[in-house]
C-alpha cells in the first residue's frame, strides 16, 4: 500500500529540465514567425536596398570620375598640341618679321644711298652751275670793267707807267674779288 503511494509520488515528480514545454514552444513559434515575417518584409529588403544603392552610387561616381579623367587627359593632349602649334606659329611670324625687317633695312639703306648719290650729284651740278655763273659774271664784269678802264684811260691820257700801274692794280683788284 505504502509502496504504491511512493511509486505514484515518484512518477508525479517534476519533469526533467530538458524536456521541452508546450507553452514555451507555442510562444517561441509565434515570436519567431512574427520576427521573421516583419524582418523579411520590412527590414532586410530596406537594408539590402540601401547597400545596393550605395554600391551603385559609388560605381557611377567612379565611372564618372574615370571618364572625367579621360576627358581631362585628352583635352590636355589637345591643349599641348595647340600650344605647340601656337609656338610654331609664333616662331614663323618672328622669322617672317625678321626677314621683313631685313628687307626694310636693305631698302632703306639703298634708298639712303640713292638719295646721297642724288644729293651729291645735285651739289656738284650746283657747284658747276655756280662756277659757270661766276665765270659768266666775271666775264661780264671784266668786260664792264674793261670798258670802264678804257673809259678812264681815255679820260686821263696817262703815261705808260701810270697806265701799267693802273692796269695792274685793276687786275689785282679784279683778282682779289
Amino acid at each position: 500500500m505504502h509502496l504504491a503511494v511512493l511509486l505514484a509520488a515518484e512518477s508525479v515528480k517534476a519533469k526533467n529540465p530538458i524536456v521541452p514545454e508546450t507553452k514555451e514552444i507555442i510562444w517561441a513559434v509565434v515570436s519567431f514567425v512574427i520576427v521573421f515575417g516583419l524582418l523579411a518584409w520590412k527590414a532586410w529588403p530596406a537594408i539590402k536596398k540601401a547597400i545596393a544603392d550605395r554600391e551603385a552610387h559609388i560605381r557611377t561616381d567612379l565611372e564618372r570620375a574615370e571618364s572625367a579623367k579621360d576627358e581631362a587627359e585628352s583635352s590636355l593632349v589637345e591643349y599641348q598640341r595647340q600650344l605647340a602649334e601656337a609656338r610654331n606659329e609664333a616662331g614663323k611670324i618672328i622669322e617672317e618679321a625678321r626677314l621683313a625687317a631685313d628687307q626694310v633695312r636693305k631698302d632703306l639703306i639703298a634708298r639712303a644711298e640713292a638719295d646721297a648719290t642724288e644729293l651729291r650729284g645735285r651739289a656738284q651740278d650746283d657747284i658747276r652751275l655756280a662756277t659757270e655763273r661766276a665765270l659768266a659774271d666775271l666775264q661780264s664784269r671784266v668786260a664792264e670793267l674793261s670798258i670802264e678802264l678804257a673809259e678812264k684811260v681815255v679820260e686821263r691820257n696817262l703815261d705808260h707807267d701810270t697806265q701799267i700801274a693802273l692796269i695792274e692794280s685793276y687786275i689785282n683788284q679784279v683778282g682779289s674779288r
Binding site: A14, P17, I18, V19, P20, E21, T22, K23, E24, I25, I26, W27, A28, V29, S31, F32, I34, V35, F36, L38, L39, A40, K42, A43, W44, P45, A46, I47, K48, K49, A50, I51, D53, R54, H57
Partner: protein, 253 residues
Amino acid sequence: MSLGVFVFPPIDELFRWKDIAFKGQFYAINKTSLLVMISSVLILAIFVGGSRRMKLVPKGFQNVLEMTYEFVDRGITRDVIGNDATRFTPFLGSLFLFILFLNFWEVIPFIQFPPTSRFAIPLFLALMVYVLYWFLGFKHQGIKYLTGHLFPAGVPLALYILVTPIELVQILLVRPFSLAVRLLANMMAGHILLTALALLTAYTLKNAPIIALGPFALNIGVTAFEILVGFLQAYIFTLLTAVYIADSLHAEH
C-alpha cells in the same frame, strides 16, 4: 555564528519558471516566453524601426544594421551556400538575430536567464531547419537527395553495410538533434556556471569576505566569456543551417 551549509539548488529550480499569465493553460506565459517576446519586440524595434529611413551615407545606427546584414549575407550565405543564394539571407539573418538576442539575456543584469537554455526554443528552431532542408533537398534534387546521402559514391560495396545506417541516423536524427542540443547545452552550462559562481560569491561574502574576491573575479571573467559564447552559438547555429541548406541545394561534392 553558524557557517551555514552551501546548498546548490536543484537544476530544475534554475530553469523552470512559474506561469505569469494564463496560469495552467497550455498557452501560459512564463519568464521564458516573456523574454522571447521582449527580444522579438526589441529586434523588430531596432531593425524595422532602424531601416525605415536608410540614407546613402550611413551614420551610427545604420552602420550596425548594415554590418549585421553584411555579416550574415557575406560571412554565412555567400561563403557557405554560394553567391546566388542571397534569397536565404532574410531567413538566416532573422534566425541569427533571434538566437543572438535570446542568448544575450544570459548576461543582462537582473534578468540573467537565457531562454535558449529551455529545450523548447532550440528544439523548435532545429525542427524548423530540419523541415526546411528536407523540403529544399527534395525540391532541388528529388529522391537523389536521400540516395546520394545513403549511398555515397566511391565507397566499396561491403562498406555500405556500415555507411548507410550511419548516414541514415546522421541525416534523420543527429543533424537536428545536435543542432538543438548544442545551443541548449552551451546556454544551460553557462547559466549553471554563472549561477554557481554567483551563489558561491554570496556564500563566501557572508562567511569569509576576502575569499569572496576569487569567485567574484571568476564570475566577471565567465560573464565576459558567456557573451562570446552567446554570439558564437548564434553564429554556429546559423552557419550549420546554411551548411545543411547548401547540402540540400547542391549534390555532394
